[in-house]
Amino acid sequence: MSEITRDDVQHLAGLARIALTDDEVTSLTSELSAIVDAIATVSEIAGPDVPATSHPVPLSNVMRDDVVGETLSAEQIFAGAPSHDGERFRVSAILGEEQ
């Protein structure tokens, strides 16, 4: 199957929002290549006539009545937040300068 390069790992880490050190990129590049070689075997038996299973017990459209239930207070929700102003989560700038 396909060889995974350092650039691939860096691109994937960017998509996954994980900063990596150079050493981590190096080790992940070789580990992921070996892992992907091993798991790519799934395509050997996955014929076009086999349906996919996403979920072991098929259930669909599990709904409840549209009524207000018990909810957490803002205080409870913000208790675990790194930063907040009592009404909203506080974060640093959403947009960088180039945007």
């Binding site: 396909s2 994937l12 996954a16």
Partner: protein, 508 residues
């Protein structure tokens, strides 16, 4: 069951301790204190717990007062229980073994935790685990490994090594685990204890920090089959807060376990040996114990047949595509905004802060799997990897369907080897992944599975048996599991868990 020495409440099976609590011979405060003392004595060596509940004695006292006032309580009320750190607990940190959730105290209880509380069980604390349940050895915990009480140089299995070790080291009679690819059954196998992965949807996942949502299932970890059944009866059943929770009436699993144990034989039970799980890759001593167990079942009247599940050869590959794919999505919630760690420098955008936080907060295995999952889901690879893995899942379900036409339950070794040494497989992720071959098929198919002891390997360490039943037939596992446990206990003169060597710190 082995008779406890006087005053040693920690050696009792959970149901035996609960009987003493009901009769008033022992108070919940005494039972809880005995286990807290045991934790203080041995957990420095074992490191099963990440957090010990400071309110445990207070909660035990409240149960004692309610009992003294004549209130009708649940049959397990007042008994202590250990809780895997993947489960949200109000008043106790819930970290899932990760630095990114260090010190985080959830605003709500997992449904299973709330149900234990309503039944009056007393939480002893939170048990160690591989970070976000990614691992088979508990070495991937950000807070250091748990050690196997049978040999402190060995792994206790994973990801729920903390719960299994706590129960095996007599630090708790009951514990909760979660099983995504074997994280309840494999630790049970290597610590000489019992663990049950229920049918998918049988136990609520609400408040269980998600690893792979189509695979995760919460279940009991104990030293006896009946004890697992008792806990399953408490935590199981429909939960409107979990949209994958099954709306069905479940039978009493404790009744099934009691019936299985008292019947004393397996007459008429069709037992299928899965050919593909009894082959190369299984250590010779594990195979030997397995063959002996098959003979015990045959002598007890079981009709043993061989069944073939050819797609199982692809189960590890399918699992290590589906799990990372789901995990990469589930773990996106750890974004430094709403809970947990934030690593930030002035002038950074929120995106930079997220990447820096996840760099520091996640361990190596978590990063590896998130990036693998991101790869498996990326355009161009999706059909070949994730799509194919989902098809393998269908084929594995079909294999099980065919096997269960020939057999009522299936059996296999629960793990390919006895507990390996700490660090032995830490630098070889593939070797660690392949170790899950015996347990993964049940998660992919959603069926129930149980791990229970079947003897000792050449190294004197526990070897586990796995029982599997069709979807919704958890009851069969308790009935057969309790019968097998009773048959083996007759040969051994007591259950295996009581044969563990005494821990150095635990001299009595």
């Amino acid at each position: 069951m082995e008779q406890a020495q006087s005053g040693d409440l920690t050696r009792l099976a959970g149901h035996e301790l609960a009987a003493l609590l009901r009769s008033g011979e022992v108070s919940s405060v005494e039972a809880t204190q005995a286990h807290l003392d045991r934790i203080a004595e041995v957990d420095g060596d074992v490191h099963a717990f990440l957090h010990v509940n400071e309110a445990a004695l207070e909660q035990a006292r409240a149960i004692d007062e309610r009992r003294a006032a004549g209130e009708e309580l649940h049959e397990l009320a007042g008994a202590p229980v250990a809780i895997k750190d993947v489960l949200c607990t109000v008043g106790m940190p819930s970290t899932a073994g990760s630095r990114i959730l260090e010190g985080w105290i959830p605003p709500y209880d997992a449904t299973v935790v709330a149900r234990l509380g309503h039944a009056g069980l007393v939480a002893l604390g939170k048990t160690n685990m591989d970070e976000f349940a990614m691992g088979s050895s508990t070495e991937h915990s950000a807070y250091g490994p748990t050690r196997n009480p049978w040999d402190l140089e060995r792994i206790p299995g994973g990801s729920g090594g903390g719960s299994a070790a706590a129960v095996a080291a007599f630090e708790a009679p009951f514990a909760l685990g979660s099983d995504t690819g074997g994280s309840i059954r494999q630790p049970a196998a290597v610590t000489g204890t019992v663990g049950m992965k229920p049918t998918y949807g049988g136990v609520s996942r609400y408040g269980a920090i998600a690893l792979a949502s189509s695979l995760d299932q919460v279940g009991p970890v104990t030293r006896t089959v009946l004890d697992s059944a008792l806990i399953h009866d408490v935590i199981g059943g429909h939960d409107p807060l979990d949209s994958t929770s099954l709306e069905r009436e479940w039978p009493s699993f404790a009744a099934a376990a009691r019936e299985g144990a008292s019947r004393g034989d397996l007459a008429g039970v069709r037992v299928g040996v899965v050919k593909e799980l009894d082959s190369e890759g299984i250590a010779a001593d594990v195979q030997a114990r397995f063959q002996e167990t098959v003979r015990v079942l045959t002598d007890a009247g079981a009709e043993v047949v061989e069944v073939s599940c050819p797609s199982f050869a692809y189960s590890v590959a399918a699992y290590y595509l589906i799990l990372p794919a789901e995990a990469s999505s589930n773990l996106a919630r750890f974004d430094s905004v709403r809970f947990g760690l934030r690593v930030e420098q002035a002038g950074q955008t929120v995106e930079d802060v997220m990447a820096a936080t996840r760099e520091v907060g996640f361990g190596t295995e978590v990063k590896r799997r998130i990036i693998l999952g991101t790869y498996a889901l990326s355009a161009g690879y999706y059909d070949a990897y994730y799509g194919s893995a989902q098809k393998v899942r269908t084929l594995i379900q079909r294999d099980f369907d065919a096997a269960f036409e020939q057999a009522d339950i299936l059996i296999s070794p629960a793990a390919p080897t006895t507990a390996f040494k700490l660090s032995e497989k830490l630098d070889d992720p593939l070797a660690m992944y392949v170790n899950d071959i015996t347990t993964i098929p049940a998660n992919l198919a959603g069926i129930p599975g149980m791990g229970l002891p079947m003897g000792l390997g050449d190294d004197g360490l526990p070897v586990g048996l796995q029982l599997l039943a069709p979807m919704f037939e958890d009851e069969r596992l308790y009935r057969a599991g309790a019968a097998i446990e009773a048959l083996l206990a007759q040969r051994w003169g007591g259950i295996l868990a009581t044969k563990a060597p005494e821990l150095a710190g635990g001299a009595r």
